[in-house]
Amino acid sequence: MRHLLSAADLDRHEIGEILDLAEEMSLVQGRPVKKLPALRGRTVVNLFFEDSTRTRSSFEIAGKWLSADVINISAKGSSVSKGESLRDTVLTVAAMGVDALVIRHHASGAPWQASRWIDAHVLNAGDGTHEHPTQALLDAFTIRRHFRNSVPDVSNFEGKTVAIVGDITHSRVARSNVLLLNTLGAQVILIAPPTLLPSGIDSWPVLVCTDFDQVVPHADVVMMLRVQRERMSGGYFPTPREYTIGYGLTRPRLEAMKPGAAICHPGPMNRGLEISADAADAANSLILDQVAAGVSVRMSVLYELLGGAE
């Protein structure tokens, strides 16, 4: 594996390897010395053109726990705010001799572009409305763990139904999850108001439904997507309150869920909008497990990309 740009780059075997290694990496969190020497002498740059807390810090922790030198560059306060182009920024950073570049950008395809300009490994940490592959990996890791507890030896997702609910049109999390979960053999159902379903969705390997209540009792995993604030006044739905009534994970829907079914949310949450406090804090909510998994999965991916010979 040279770059990680899309969840579609990975086959089932590779996903299994990344998730198994992430299980090993997760043990580091409980050790007295939270450090492995595998990436000693390697340099990882987090190049973030968009705000991010959890993704950036979890990439940073992941790199540091593997002993890599990690540098964070954000658009604010860097030469990007002076009008430097993406290409010049990427080439400048690469010229300093970095081994991997973790890129988040508001334009879909920016990491893909960058990977064609430089020799360093490129990891997509979210690009526009395109993809967020490490999020999909950590979701799969969290979901697999959840079902390992109740059903031992679930190594793949055949027979599991995952409902992804919310703004599908603008969600890179949804796109990466659809690709990854489909590779793993899960049935994905997308649920959204018609205004938030992208055109061309007929060609996606999913079922689409606009009635959340119809799906709730059948889903093994309910994955809620964040309603991005800028969409609330964009005419996609009449009012936040109506969105909640139609597509929020409310208490009645929480109670209608299948026993043992799990709740996921990539964060940050809008409590009371797409997810009720009852659901966010429910016993079957995996939201904090997802955050913890983020570090382990990103360690695993960094090791896969940087751990061997060039």
């Binding site: 290694l21 090993e24 751990g307 061997g308 010979a309």
Partner: protein, 206 residues
């Protein structure tokens, strides 16, 4: 496992005659010899430690792990005490990570706190000593053991680091390019140690 219980006399000659031949593959230990070696090592560990107090057996994946379990079973038969068995993967501590494609990482399992215990590292073959060096580093990140010992089924010579084993199943002279293949019932369906000629197997570190 198969430890027969009775302590075996240590093999008298540390480098038993066996002429180094160039035939395709030769068997140097059969199942009964492996069983006797395990039983003897188990006794030696107990003797050196004056009992099973504070002992932890840590196998180095892949074949160190079943060997560690065999030693624990043999100790149970002798002392009636179940010594904790774990696994310590050393992949990320190796000094040759950059020299080959990304290596698969094995499983690490700590049955008890390493802090203050006497850890016996168990591996199948002792060769350059680099794996053991990596294991010592890995162990250091898990805590501070009271003491660390090393038990191996086969010592094939050709050390590249100042490392020696405390307990050795068998000394087997080899040429540097040869490959010592340890097969264990748990993983390979047969108990056997053989020497493969150079070239057909990739050089390994042990």
């Amino acid at each position: 496992m198969s430890g027969t219980g009775a302590p075996q006399a240590r093999r008298d000659d540390p480098w038993p005659g066996a002429a180094v031949s160039s035939e395709p593959s030769r068997v140097v230990m059969e199942a009964d010899q492996i069983a006797r070696a395990c039983a003897r090592i188990a006794h030696q560990i107990l003797e050196a430690n004056r009992g099973a107090e504070g002992l932890v057996l840590m196998g180095i994946p892949t074949r160190g792990v079943p060997l560690a379990h065999r030693l624990a079973t043999a100790m149970d038969q002798v002392e009636g005490v179940r010594v904790p068995v774990g696994a310590i993967d050393v992949t990320m501590y190796r000094d040759d990570l950059r020299r080959q494609p990304t290596r698969a990482v094995g499983h690490t399992d700590l049955p008890v706190e390493v802090e203050g215990s006497t850890v016996v590292l168990v591996d199948d073959v002792l060769y350059s000593g680099r794996t053991v060096r990596a294991a010592l580093d890995a162990l250091g990140d898990l805590g501070r053991p009271r003491a660390v010992r090393l038990a191996v089924l086969v010592d094939r010579g050709h050390r590249e680091l100042p490392i020696r084993a405390d307990h050795i199943g068998s000394y087997i002279p080899t040429r540097a390019g040869e490959h010592v293949s340890v097969r264990l019932t748990e993983l390979d369906g047969i108990d056997q140690v053989s020497i493969e000629p150079a070239s057909d197997a990739p050089p390994r570190e042990a």
